[in-house]
C-alpha cells in the first residue's frame, strides 16, 4: 500500500477515535481499501448495495470483512431499488447471507435531478422518497 494512502487512513482513524461526537465517514470505494486504521474506530458500518447480484455479493464480502475487523454493528442499506421485485430480491439475499438490511432506498428521479444540478438532495427536494426512507433509517436505527 502506498505510504501517503496509509497516512490518510491513519489520520482518519486517529481523528475518528479522538472525536467525541458523531461522525459519518464516506469510505473509499472498493473492498480492497477497507482498512483497519479506519475500521477499528467506527461503531457501525453501512454497506450500500444495489439490487443486482454482483453488488449484493460484493456487499456481503465487505460486511464479512467488517465483522472480522470487529465492527459492532454491520448493516446493509439498499439503494436504487426500482420495484417490489427488487426489494424482495434484496431482502431474500440479505436474509440468506445473515445481513441486517436496515433500509431500502428507492430509485428516485429527485436524486438524479439533484445530481444533475450539483446540489444536495436535501436542498432540492427533502420530501422525495429517497430522503423519506433515509430519514426513517436515521430515526429508527441510528438515533
Amino acid at each position: 500500500m502506498c505510504r501517503s494512502h496509509a497516512a490518510v487512513r491513519s489520520v482518519i482513524g486517529a481523528m475518528v477515535e479522538e472525536w467525541s461526537r458523531p461522525a459519518v465517514i464516506d469510505m473509499e470505494a472498493g473492498i480492497e481499501h477497507m482498512s483497519r486504521a479506519t475500521g477499528q474506530h467506527v461503531d457501525m458500518i453501512l454497506v450500500v448495495i444495489e439490487p443486482y447480484f454482483k453488488s449484493m455479493e460484493t456487499g456481503a464480502r465487505v460486511a464479512e470483512l467488517a465483522r472480522e475487523m470487529g465492527i459492532k454493528h454491520v448493516y446493509a442499506i439498499a439503494n436504487k431499488s426500482r420495484s417490489r421485485e427488487d426489494e424482495n430480491a434484496l431482502q431474500q439475499f440479505c436474509q440468506q447471507r445473515g445481513l441486517d438490511l436496515i433500509g431500502v432506498v428507492p430509485e428516485d428521479d429527485a436524486v438524479k435531478t439533484a445530481d444533475r444540478l450539483g446540489v444536495a438532495i436535501l436542498d432540492h427536494d427533502e420530501t422525495s422518497p429517497a430522503v423519506r426512507e433515509l430519514a426513517r433509517v436515521v430515526e429508527q436505527r441510528l438515533m
Binding site: 494512502h5 491513519s10 489520520v11 461526537r21 454497506v47 450500500v48 444495489e50 467488517a66 436504487k80
Partner: protein, 109 residues
C-alpha cells in the same frame, strides 16, 4: 456514534453518507463530522456546499500527523478539536466537513 459508509463507486454511497450526516444533525445531534475518505471526493457536493466553493475548500494539511519514532505509528500532532476548528468546512445543518489535503498526491506514492 461513528458510522462508516462503504460501497462500490456509483452505488450512491456518497449521496447516502452526506444525507445521513445532515439528517443526524437535524435530529439534534451536535458536532456531526462528515469525513471524505474517498480519493474521488464528492461529499462536499452531496452535503450541499455551493458549487462555486468546491475548488477552494479548506483541507486537512499533511502536518497533522507524523510517525512516532518509538512506535513507528502515525499519530496526530495536534488535538482533534483544534484540527476540526481550523481546517473543517462548515456545511448546512451544522455539519462539519473534513477533507484530506494530500490525497491527490497519493498516486505518486
Amino acid at each position: 456514534m461513528k458510522i462508516a459508509v462503504a460501497g462500490k463507486g456509483g452505488s450512491g454511497k456518497t449521496t447516502i453518507a452526506g444525507t445521513l450526516a445532515r439528517l443526524l444533525a437535524r435530529e439534534g445531534q451536535k458536532g456531526v463530522l462528515a469525513i471524505d475518505a474517498d480519493s474521488n471526493p464528492n461529499l462536499a457536493l452531496t452535503l450541499g456546499l455551493e458549487r462555486e466553493r468546491l475548488d477552494n475548500l479548506t483541507r486537512i494539511p499533511r502536518e497533522v500527523i507524523e510517525r512516532d519514532a518509538a512506535t513507528n505509528r502515525w499519530v496526530l500532532t495536534r488535538a482533534v478539536d483544534e484540527i476540526v476548528r481550523e481546517h473543517g468546512v462548515a456545511a448546512p445543518d451544522g455539519v462539519t466537513l473534513l477533507l484530506m489535503g494530500w490525497v491527490e498526491h497519493a498516486g505518486a506514492g
